[in-house]
Every structure is written in structure tokens, then in C-alpha cells.
């Protein structure tokens, strides 16, 4: 039998359009307009999942985004999603969902034994496992990890596309219920730009499910007219299926729009979800309120739901969740639901905690044959997979005690209503302050911080008549405050059959004694937190509300306690006999509801996650089988293997080619900054540690930059191109940092200095040719006189190379005769290919960064960031030769004489040669005074660079060693991870061509 719980008529589902779906492997039929929850209820499926800790049978508690129980695994394969609220899922053809947190099935769940073991899983169970004994944690962890978490993450890559939208507007209104709609109308008529956000597929909110009248006529028609007018206003944008997730400073909101989640087919043109980043001059919050559960023993069984949810299933979906219904309430308004159920054929009994009842309600109950138990409470429920019987008993409210006979009622559905809590999550995120309202017994907005209004039941105003006019006025006022013209006010008369009562609503609790014995009075359904757990936390001293929350995990589920927080606070207030105001409340943080990471990432995934920077020769490197290395965002050739060479063989070949003949490196990634202006030399004098005043045009100089702490932070060669014109190079990774550093001082300290800095890194392709044959090689390709006399080491010349205008720098990072040929980037590959062709007779060998590293290490040249780490001075690096003694001042100078920087035992830059001439020390290895069996050992320093040197035929290493300069020739030991202890000799840092003859050739 299908749709056995569907009413004969009524509801807004389209009964002409049946939809097939599968739940836990079984096929069902729902209708267009159903949610997964309403379709399941229609098919008499009440058992939806198992609870987190005790694996108790759970059904559907609510009909909206606050749902704590009915959370399912939705979809299959790469598109499967855990923890989806069945109450929010719009039914589509072929939908597949399954229960979570149960094995082997939801009907027979092994984990349900936890329910009987609850004595060993008390509140704070996790904390207790941390505390004692420490060794047991590993044991617990195994089980906790397995038991924790509700659904399954997909293992395949997400195939969907997510988009982001930045949006600017005058007014953003969150919530498309009556308050939000009327505010939008007031503001919209004034002509300002309005964005209205609502999480449901249909606007109207609460009023969609209840009967009301406007000016004594059917309210539903009036509602449609309002929505139609808004649809017609070009300045009002309405986003349905969109949840406002975060509310940040300066009225910055994020919202998640479900674009195609509810579609049968996934779209090629539309994203799955769209993440909105919204800036608005004003925000109006109109999110409404959540109905509050009542706390009684076993209040979590399937078949027990909120009265408003029952109302919604009945009136919107035409689903009667039960035929023999008990309404358990502490307020008038829920009686509307009782009347509605009777009208649709259910037998209804009311259990009301109050002793006095409004005469009109009493009479109507009598006429509808509704039995009302006044001053009674539900004290216990029965039924394993669905509620089938309840026990009720009379309440003595003053004594907070039960009295009299326990009576039994057979039932298949319990509707409960404990009053309403404004949805203050976003308000609170915007740092708005809350206060406890004793009339409606809940937290309501108090002090507003942002440029914001909060209206309707979101603001604790539950009276329809008041809401109509206040909300419309709020919209007009907001537009007015933004200097839009006023529009005419309207007076509507709105009426509900029963108005919300502001008295007698309180979070209702059973007496202290009762909750600690046996039964479970659930406060937080999703995290299985019972009233007893709250008591326990107080007894164990976790009295602050933030402590209680963390110790018991109340309010910490994917629902963030939308239904549970106020009850937990009220119970604490009851335990401590203090007003709730003094208990306080926990902090609400974004996101408002669970959201996909995919939406936050948007299009910034895969190749778009981080830009890749490529040189103009990049494709040549690819074609010639380079292995690449990431240097910052740059792709640099690491080495160029030939004929199945491994990295060691390739690097050896490349190194020897440079030392013996000719190598070529793509050095385009080096940072390049063009400095111009009359104060450029003066500026360089302050930025670099050495002197620049006397540098001649056409000369290059190596420079070291320190920060004000005196620590090296970049290095490079800067050349004087003309009077007041310099070309600075930086490390590949440091280019942006150096540029900012220069700008910082020009803009904040030396505002009078006339210097312009321009990044030209990408404007030049740099071909670095190196090796004894480089002069011979280059002279055929250029009109520049390369003779030693006219173009010596550390000079710069301009001319043509391969017919292209070029800047050639005679500088060397390999220690060999070298030329760095700079050509406009668009000629990079052209010149590179010419070089490769012409270089054949010299066996020109392209080499990558690894060979570059080996060659420079053989020469003891430092790499900033590898040999230095931000805590070393030029002196530490034996670079005093490059620190001016004469200059009065430069950045970092003063710090060279600080007590810490002149310490004797600072680590100093030295060379290390292993005594076995074989072992390549791992970089990062510790150098110790004496090797012991196990740490701690007294540390002397660490290895910063280490390679096998093909030129020398044995390994070399660079290291930072305590007081290293005075340890030349001494022995040190390096214990390795594998237990071996390597002995090494301390040397200077130049392993090859100590006199520096080769680059001067």
C-alpha cells in the first residue's frame, strides 16, 4: 500500500505527478512538492535513523532546517552526501537515500546495545578517556573513531561545479516569511535595491501552514498577491532555496543557494550550488522562530514530533502522521494543530501542563470531542520503533512534582509544543546582544551592533497583526534611512483563530529526582544529551555554560542546537535556581547550517586553486622531458633526464657539462625590479648592507638585504644601467616580498626619496649560460664585444643576441665563466632554441635547479631560505665582506651590535666533509657534540645543504654550527635516523676553485 497516510484531499503536493524514490533499498512513491520526510511519513515510514551515541531509533522531529534526527545519507557514488536533513530534501525522481549510524540495518542495529550501556558512556565520556590513564586513550580512540560520525564521506572526487557570486545591494532581508515579505515590499516600493533570501522552495514561511485572515478575507490569497507584487518589482531580487550562513562585520553575509540539488539530472550549464558573498548597506533579519521541544522521558521516539511540524505535514503535504494523536503543550497556539488534525479525521487527546484554559479553546475542544488533560504531563513513552503508548500524570507546578495516578494513553503520534525560540543565530553572529524575555521564556534580540533591523517573530513578536504593520514599516524605514522616498503606509488587519499567548509559555521540566533515574529525557536529540547529563555536568563542576556545552556536547551537532539550546539553559537555570539571564548563553558562530566545502572553494579548485607561473621557455622544457619543481608559483625544470637516467645520473651529467664545457639554465623566474629616480643610489645604500654610491654605470654588484633585526632576508645582484637607473634581481621566491619591502620604506619612512620601483620579472626571459666555453659560444651570436678586457666579470652590456635586443650580465652562480642573457620575454623561446642549435658543438646541456644547487654549493654560495632561515646575520654567514663598515646607517645595521647578535656561540656557516667520503648527509640532520644511544644529545647545529659533488667525486655539505668559524678542521658527529653515526670534518664553505679564478676568466 502506498501513501497510506496521505489525506484524501488537501496539501499543496501535486498528486498528478508521482515521484519514485528509494529509501534503505526499498522503493516508494511520493508526489511533486514533497520533501523526503513528508514522502516517508506518507508511506508510514517513521524510523529514519539511529542516534549518535545510543543508537536509539529516531524519526522525524521537525519539518525544517532545524531537524536534529532525520538526517540521511543522500545520493550515491561520488555525489553521496552525509548528514542531509530529510526535512529539507525536495523529492526528485530516482532519489536514493539511506539511514545513517546503523549496522547492519536501521531496523536491526548492533550499536543499539549502547543504549543499555549508557552507564559507561556518561556525559564527558570523551574527556574522561583523555584524563586517565593516558595509555588507555589509544585503546578508546579505536572505538570512538569508529563509533563517532554519522554518515559516510564520498571517496571519489566531487564531480560537481560550484560557483561564487559577489553581490552588492542596499538592503538584504533574510527570511521570506510574512515579516520578510512585507519588509521587502515596503523597501521595494521605495525603489531601493533589495535582496530577499529564503531557505525554502516557497515563500510565505509559517503562514503557508496555518489559516489566517487579512481584512477578514482569506489570508492565503492576500499572501499570493504580496508575492506577485514583489516578483514584479525589478529592484527586488528573490533567492529561494538559499540559506544565509554567516553574518560578518560591516554587514557582510554569506549565503548558500541550492541551484540544482533538487534536479533529477545534474546540469552541464548550471552549478550545483552557488555561494553568495553579499555586502549590503542594511540588513533586515526576519528568520522567524523555532518551536521548542518538551523534555520528558523517552521524548525521542519515532512518532513524536513538534506540533508545528505536524501542522506542516498535514496542511502543506496532505500527510496525516498519526490517527490517534496526543498533543502535549504548554501554550494556546498549538491547539490550532489539534483542531486541524481532528478536521482531517484524527482522534486527538490534549495533555496541557497548565491548569487554566482559555474558554473559547475549551469550548471548541468540547465540540470537536477532544479530551483535554489539564495540569498533566507526559511522563514516559513506549514503543521501540514507533511510539505506541504514553503515560501521563498530574503535575504540581509549585512543588515541581508529579502526583496522583499514572494514566495510560494509546497513541501513534505525539505532537509537542513547548513555546517558540526566535532564530537568533545570525543576529548573534553579528554580535547583537540577547536578553531573556520572561514573558515568552526565551532569548530575544536586545542590542543591535550592525546597521540592521530585526523584525517579526525573529524579534520575539508573535502577534500577526503587530507583525504585519511593523514589518512593512521596517522596510519603509530602512529605505528611508538610505534616502529613498517614503511610500504610503498600509493598515492591514490580520487575524489567526488562536493568537500566540505570551503567558504560560516556559521550558517545561520534570522534577529533579525523576530525570536521573533510568529513563532518558532528551535535551539534544542529535548528540544524545539527556537532562541527566546536564545534571551530571553541574555536579562535576562544569557549571559555566560554555563548559556544560563542551562537556555534554549539547548544541554541538550539525544542527548546532537549534531545538535544544534554550531547554539546556532553562534546565541549568532550574538546577542552580538562578534566572536564565544569569546562566547566559553560548556563542553562535557561522555557518548557520552545514554547508559544502565545495561551495566555499567555488571555482578555486584543481588548476585554478593556485596560479601556475611559467616562463616563456616552459613549453620547450616540457617537450624535452624536463622534470619540474615548484618554486613558489613557478614551474622550474628540476633536471632534464636522458635515456632513463635517474636524478643522480642526470644531475651528475649536467654538473660536469657546466664545469667542462657549457650549460644553459632558464633563470627567468628570478625576481627583477627596475629602480629609477635621482635617489636610487641613496635608497640602495639603505636597503643593502654594502655601499652603492661608487658603482659605475655598466657594473653589477652582489647585495645582501637584512631586516631591521639584522637578519638576512634576501640577496641578489643589482646593476647600474644608467644614471639613476638600476636593475635589481631577487630570489625567485622572494620577489614579491622584496618589492613590498622597498615600497614600505619608500612610502612610510623616506617619503622624500624620489625612487620608482617597477616589477619586471615577467618582462624578461633570462638565459644563463655557464661553463668554460660560454664566451666562445656566445661571441658568434652577439654584437657585444665579449673579450675579457672590454667585458670583465661583474659587468653589464647591452647589445643584440641572435638579432634580439638584449641585456647581458656577466655574473655567475656556478663559479664558471657565465653570462646571463636577458631578452624580452616574448623572444625567450626563440633565443633559447637558437642557443641550443648553435651550442651543439659545445654539447650545450640544459640543466635544472638541482644542478644549479649543486654547482653553487661547490662554490659555497648561499641560498636564502635554505642555508639561512630568518635568524642569521651576515656575520653568521661569513659574509662580513659585503657589510659596509663605513656607511652610517642601513636597514639592519644597528641590530648587528645587539647583545644577541654578537654572542660567540651563535651558529655559523661552515662546510662539512664526511670522513667516509661516501655518505650524503640528509639535509636537516643534527650535528651533535657526542652521539648517544638516544636523544637528548647536545646539539651543535644542523646541515643546511648537502649533495654529492660530481666535480669533486665526493659528498659536500653546508651547515650551521655553533661557534663554527673557530672549529675549522675539527671533528663533529652526525647521528642519522637509521641509527648510523657519521663523522665529519669542519671546513670552510668553498669546496671548488677557492681563488675564484674560473668565473674571472
Amino acid at each position: 500500500m502506498s501513501n497510506q497516510n496521505r489525506t484524501i484531499y488537501g496539501g499543496k503536493v501535486n498528486r498528478e505527478k508521482p515521484i519514485n524514490f528509494v529509501f534503505n533499498g526499498k522503493s516508494y512513491i511520493g508526489y511533486q512538492g514533497d520533501t523526503l520526510a513528508s514522502a516517508l511519513l506518507a508511506n508510514d515510514v517513521h524510523l529514519i535513523g539511529r542516534s549518535f551515541k545510543y543508537h536509539r531509533a529516531r524519526g522525524i522531529l521537525t519539518a525544517g532546517s532545524e531537524e536534529p534526527n532525520a538526517i540521511v545519507q543522500l545520493g550515491l557514488g561520488a555525489r553521496t552526501e552525509p548528514n542531509i536533513r530529510a526535512t529539507e530534501v525536495e523529492l526528485y525522481e530516482g532519489l536514493e537515500a539511506s539511514s545513517q549510524n546503523c549496522w547492519p540495518s536501521v531496523n536491526f542495529d548492533i550499536g543499539a546495545m549502547n543504549n543499555f550501556l549508557s552507564r559507561i558512556f556518561p556525559a564527558g565520556f570523551y574527556y574522561k578517556t583523555f584524563k586517565w590513564p593516558p595509555s588507555m586513550w589509544l585503546f578508546y580512540e579505536h572505538f570512538i573513531r569508529k563509533a563517532a560520525g554519522l554518515g559516510q564521506s564520498p571517496t571519489a572526487k566531487n564531480p560537481d561545479r560550484y560557483e561564487q557570486k559577489f553581490y552588492y545591494t542596499d538592503i538584504t532581508i533574510v527570511g521570506g516569511g510574512i515579516s520578510g515579505l512585507l519588509a521587502a515590499l515596503g523597501a521595494g516600493r521605495s525603489g531601493c535595491k533589495v535582496l530577499l533570501i529564503d531557505e525554502n522552495p516557497e515563500l510565505g514561511g509559517y503562514l503557508l501552514d496555518y489559516n489566517f485572515s487579512i481584512n477578514e478575507k482569506d489570508g492565503k490569497k492576500w499572501l499570493k498577491k504580496i508575492i506577485d507584487e514583489l516578483d514584479g518589482l525589478a529592484n527586488v531580487i528573490i533567492l529561494k532555496r538559499t540559506t544565509a550562513m554567516g553574518y560578518y562585520d560591516y554587514n557582510y553575509l554569506t549565503a548558500l543557494e541550492k541551484v540544482t540539488n533538487h534536479h533529477v539530472e545534474f546540469s552541464n550549464t548550471l552549478p550545483r550550488e552557488r555561494y553568495w558573498r553579499i555586502r549590503s548597506k542594511k540588513v533586515i533579519l526576519a528568520q522567524g522562530a523555532f518551536e521548542r521541544p518538551l523534555v520528558f522521558a523517552d521524548n525521542d521516539r519515532p512518532g513524536i514530533m513538534m506540533a508545528s511540524a505536524g501542522q506542516k505535514y498535514l496542511s502543506r503535504y496532505g500527510v496525516l502522521p498519526g490517527k490517534s494523536v496526543v498533543l502535549f503543550t504548554n501554550n494556546d497556539h498549538a491547539y490550532l494543530t489539534a483542531f486541524e488534525f481532528v478536521e482531517k479525521g484524527a482522534k486527538v487527546t490534549v495533555v496541557d501542563t497548565r491548569d487554566l484554559l482559555n474558554a473559547r479553546i475549551s469550548e471548541k475542544c468540547k465540540s470537536l470531542n477532544i479530551t483535554v488533560y489539564k495540569s498533566y504531563s507526559v511522563i514516559k513513552t513506549y514503543g521501540y520503533k514507533k511510539v505506541n503508548r504514553i503515560e501521563i500524570q498530574q503535575v504540581d507546578k509549585n512543588q515541581n512534582q508529579l502526583k496522583g495516578e499514572v494514566e495510560n494513553i494509546h497513541t501513534d503520534c505525539v505532537l509537542m509544543s513547548g513555546g517558540w525560540n526566535p532564530a537568533v543565530q545570525l543576529f548573534s553572529q553579528s554580535r547583537g546582544k540577547l536578553k531573556y524575555d520572561l514573558k515568552i521564556n526565551t532569548f530575544v534580540p536586545d542590542k543591535i551592533i550592525e546597521n540592521q533591523k530585526i523584525i517579526g517573530s525573529n524579534n520575539g513578536q508573535f502577534n500577526l497583526q503587530e507583525n504585519l504593520n511593523e514589518s512593512f514599516d521596517a522596510g519603509i524605514a530602512a529605505a528611508n534611512e538610505l534616502n529613498f522616498n517614503s511610500v504610503e503606509k498600509v493598515n492591514w488587519t490580520g487575524k489567526e483563530e488562536i493568537e500566540f499567548t505570551h503567558s504560560d509559555v516556559e521550558p517545561y521540566m520534570l522534577g529533579k529526582k525523576k530525570v536521573t533515574k533510568g529513563s532518558k529525557h532528551f535535551i539534544d536529540f542529535q548528540n544524545d544529551v539527556t537532562a541527566a547529563d546536564i545534571f551530571l555536568a553541574q555536579r562535576e563542576g562544569y557549571i559555566s555554560v560554555e563548559h556544560t556545552k563542551r562537556y555534554t556536547t549539547t548544541g554541538m551537532g550539525t544542527d548546532q542546537g537549534k531545538t535544544s539550546n534554550v531547554n539546556a539553559l532553562a534546565l541549568m537555570s532550574h538546577i542552580h535556581n538562578k534566572p536564565v539571564d544569569e546562566i547566559g548563553h553560548t556563542t553562535f558562530r557561522p555557518p548557520y547550517a552545514p554547508q559544502t566545502i565545495g561551495a566555499i572553494a567555488g571555482r578555486s579548485v584543481d588548476k585554478l586553486f593556485d596560479p601556475e607561473r611559467k616562463t616563456s621557455m616552459h613549453e620547450w622544457h616540457v617537450e624535452n622531458k624536463a622534470v619540474f619543481e615548484d618554486v613558489g608559483q613557478w614551474k622550474r625544470p628540476y633536471y632534464f633526464p636522458q635515456n632513463k637516467e635517474d636524478i643522480h645520473q642526470a644531475v651528475k651529467r649536467e654538473c660536469l657539462a657546466v664545469r667542462n664545457s657549457l650549460g644553459i639554465l632558464d633563470a627567468s623566474t628570478l625576481g627583477k625590479i627596475d629602480l629609477q629616480g635621482p635617489d636610487a643610489a641613496k635608497f640602495l645604500n639603505m636597503i643593502y648592507t654594502n655601499a652603492w654610491s661608487k658603482l659605475e654605470i655598466g657594473s653589477c654588484r652582489y647585495g645582501l638585504m637584512c631586516n631591521e633585526h639584522g637578519m638576512i632576508f634576501d640577496d641578489g645582484v643589482t646593476s647600474k644601467l644608467g644614471e639613476n637607473h638600476y636593475h635589481m634581481t631577487t630570489t625567485t621566491g622572494g620577489a614579491a616580498r622584496v618589492m613590498s619591502w622597498l615600497e614600505e620604506f619608500l612610502q612610510t619612512e623616506w617619503l622624500d626619496m624620489k625612487v620608482f620601483c617597477t616589477s619586471v620579472t615577467e618582462q624578461w626571459a633570462v638565459l644563463s649560460i655557464s661553463g668554460p666555453n660560454s664566451r666562445e659560444f656566445l661571441k658568434d651570436l652577439t654584437n657585444i664585444d665579449l673579450s675579457k678586457e672590454s667585458f670583465p666579470f661583474m659587468k653589464f652590456r647591452e647589445g643584440e643576441v641572435c638579432g634580439v635586443k638584449a641585456r647581458v650580465f656577466r655574473i655567475s652562480f656556478t663559479g664558471e665563466l657565465s653570462y646571463e642573457v636577458n631578452v624580452p620575454a616574448r623572444y625567450g623561446r626563440y633565443v633559447w632554441e637558437k642557443f641550443m642549435e648553435h651550442g651543439k658543438k659545445y654539447n650545450i646541456t640544459p640543466y635544472g635547479t638541482e644542478t644549479m644547487h649543486v654547482l653553487r654549493a661547490e662554490k659555497g654560495f648561499i641560498i636564502v631560505g635554505q642555508d639561512t632561515d630568518g635568524s642569521v646575520t651576515p656575520n653568521d654567514m661569513n659574509l662580513d665582506w659585503i657589510v659596509s663598515k663605513k656607511k652610517e646607517d642601513f636597514l639592519g645595521k644597528r641590530s648587528f651590535t645587539r647583545s644577541d647578535t654578537v654572542r660567540h656561540d651563535r651558529k655559523k656557516f661552515v662546510g662539512l666533509l664526511v670522513n667516509d667520503k661516501k655518505t650524503v648527509l640528509p639535509e636537516g640532520s643534527h650535528i651533535v657534540e657526542k652521539a648517544l644511544k638516544q636523544p637528548p644529545m647536545k646539539m651543535l647545529g644542523h646541515v643546511t645543504s648537502s649533495y654529492y659533488s660530481p666535480t669533486l667525486g665526493y659528498p659536500i655539505a653546508l651547515a650551521m654550527l655553533k661557534d663554527g668559524f673557530s672549529k675549522m678542521g675539527e671533528q663533529v658527529v652526525v647521528p642519522l635516523m637509521n641509527g648510523k653515526i657519521i663523522e665529519a670534518t669542519v671546513t670552510d664553505t668553498i669546496f671548488y676553485d677557492k681563488e675564484g679564478k674560473r668565473n674571472n676568466e
Binding site: 560578518y248 562585520d249 560591516y250 557582510y252 555586502r279 551592533i449 631591521e708 633585526h709 613590498s740 615600497e743 614600505e744 612610502q747 612610510t748 619612512e749 617619503l751 652610517e888 646607517d889 645595521k893 644597528r894 641590530s895 645587539r898 647583545s899
Partner: protein
């Protein structure tokens, strides 16, 4: 997420900017003549006020200019932005 009024470009989203800490700490004119303590004060000592704070920002993804921001650390309201070299605004007692 602030909206910051760049003195050169106008109001822009915070994502375009970087904060560089406290403003109005002048580099000493004569570092070689001052004591370690005075130099240490310039290097390491910063205010951490509850209330009005003066800080340096750059409009990195915009004009790349440095400027100063007067911000209330309690409310996160930006009271004023002003160009480098302009005088430090008075803190009003309101």
C-alpha cells in the same frame, strides 16, 4: 570583513588589503647613537590597546599604496583612514 576606505581608491573589500601592525612608529634617525634599549623599543614594543588603535595597511590588490587606519579594536569600527605623512588624528573621548 571590513570595508576599508582607501584614501586613494575609495571603499573596497578587506580582501584587497593587508594589515601591517601599529602605525606612527618612526624609524630612529640615528640608530648608531641610540642605546640597545631604545633600539629594542623601536623593534619590539607595540601597543595593544582596547579601543582606538592606529595601524598601517596596504591596498595590495589595488593601488599598492600604504596608508594609516584608525580602528576601534573593541567594535572593529574603522574611525578614519588617512595618508602616510598626515598627522595622527586625535582620539575623541566620546
Amino acid at each position: 570583513m571590513f570595508i576599508i576606505n582607501c584614501p586613494y581608491c575609495g571603499e573596497r573589500d578587506q580582501t584587497e588589503f593587508t594589515c601591517h601592525g601599529e602605525a606612527h612608529i618612526a624609524r630612529p634617525d640615528n640608530p648608531s647613537e641610540i642605546s640597545d634599549e631604545e633600539w629594542g623599543r623601536y623593534l619590539f614594543f607595540r601597543e595593544n590597546p582596547k579601543g582606538t588603535h592606529f595601524e598601517r595597511w596596504t591596498h595590495d590588490h589595488g593601488c599598492r599604496r600604504w596608508f594609516n587606519v584608525m580602528r576601534d579594536t573593541v567594535t572593529d569600527q574603522i574611525i578614519k583612514t588617512y595618508k602616510m605623512g598626515e598627522a595622527k588624528p586625535e582620539i575623541s573621548n566620546e
